[in-house]
């Protein structure tokens, strides 16, 4: 069959559509999908930021209150570690806000072509890779500061070791999530290369 014949066969479906649409059903689905999609994006983006800020505020408030009220069994260093931990959490939240702003600003750089869309998808995937890496390695200083402040309160060394093991395992397992984002990014880059090269 010649290519022109294929074109004729292809054109035959213009007069005889392959499907029928339930228009009312479609309209309802569009509205609900749109609402759901924007909700999921907002929630997932803001959850990390809020979690860091709320935890930071909580640690800061409780340490300050206990210290002022003389209720704390913390030694001077214990309180210091808790304050450092709170500041670290605030700084992490600010850093996530910064890379989020950069990502949103960057999204206007891409045109609406397939290449531009793939470029945008790669940039989003890169953001996810970066974010998951930060979340992963951030667990180590947070775990260390938590363990140090707990050890200063006179808790058993086994408890402190348990805390360290907990954070280390969380960092290890979050490597899986990081791996998924990395794989997705590589697939997109492969696709973009395929588009660009003959």
């Amino acid at each position: 069959m010649e290519f022109e014949d294929m074109k004729k066969i292809w054109d035959s479906q213009n007069s005889q559509p392959l499907y029928a649409i339930d228009e009312q059903g479609l309209h309802n689905r569009i509205l609900s999908k749109k609402r759901l999609a924007s909700k999921i994006t907002k929630i997932s983006e803001l959850m990390g930021i809020i979690a860091y800020i709320v935890t930071g505020c909580f640690i800061f408030g409780v340490t300050l209150y206990k210290q002022n009220a003389g209720l704390s069994s913390y030694k001077q260093n214990g309180s210091l570690f808790m304050y450092i931990l709170a500041v670290w959490l605030f700084a992490s939240a600010l850093y996530i806000v910064k890379i989020r702003i950069l990502r949103i600003r960057g999204s206007h750089r891409f045109d609406r072509s397939m290449n531009g869309d793939l470029g945008h998808a790669i940039s989003v995937a890169m953001h996810q890779v970066q974010l998951s890496l930060i979340m992963r390695w951030n667990m180590l200083p947070i775990g260390l500061l938590t363990a140090l402040s707990i050890s200063e309160t006179g808790k058993s060394p086994w408890f402190t070791a348990g805390i360290l093991v907990f954070f280390a395992s969380a960092a290890y397992f979050s490597g899986w999530e990081h791996g998924i984002y990395k794989k997705r990014k590589l697939e997109l880059e492969k696709l973009q290369n395929k588009l660009a090269n003959s």
């Binding site: 066969i9 479906q13 689905r29 072509s113 397939m114 290449n115």
Partner: protein
């Protein structure tokens, strides 16, 4: 843009250009549920794209651009529906037409479905008579690159059709 106007444009596009959307759906999704899912995904993107349409391109070019980009992203998603997994009847917004589909058209779709996502897009645009310039703009690559890809795809399709005819199908 008011939602009323957006709805009006959407409905008129859907009536006028539904065949274009069906072609993309059929080329990128295999089962009825996947086709329905992809069709919904594309229509959501088309709906959202309406305020950004500046009329500097033809509506068909715009729609192909939106629907092909959506289809490629959709293919990348981890999970697809498997008809065997569904427990009960599901309300689909898309129902296959009762009319008999030409065997040669079914063969063509099968061959397109076997291609990778990029070649599928180029083949759809090629079969719908888009110029090299329009294709280059939809894909975001140079016209010469489009030309090279088209030659390869044409050769591949013609050779496969010859083999199929030799086997008496």
């Amino acid at each position: 843009m008011t939602e009323k106007k957006q709805k009006y444009i959407f409905e008129s596009w859907l009536h006028q250009y539904q065949t274009l959307l069906f072609k993309v759906v059929r080329a990128y999704a295999f089962t009825a549920m996947d086709q329905d899912d992809l069709f919904q995904e594309i229509t959501v993107q088309v709906w959202s794209s309406i305020p950004g349409f500046r009329q500097d391109a033809a509506v068909t070019t715009w729609l192909y651009r939106i629907s092909l980009n959506t289809a490629i992203k959709w293919v990348r998603k981890e999970r697809k529906y498997n008809q065997a997994e569904t427990l009960g009847p599901i309300d689909l917004v898309l129902t296959e037409s009762a009319a008999q589909v030409d065997d040669r058209l079914a063969w063509l779709y099968e061959e397109i479905y076997r291609m990778d996502e990029i070649d599928r897009s180029i083949t759809l645009l090629l079969l719908d008579n888009f110029s090299y310039k329009e294709m280059a703009s939809v894909l975001g690559i140079s016209e010469s690159n489009v030309g090279v890809k088209i030659n390869r795809i044409k050769k591949q399709l013609i050779s496969k059709s010859t083999k199929t005819q030799h086997h008496g199908i």
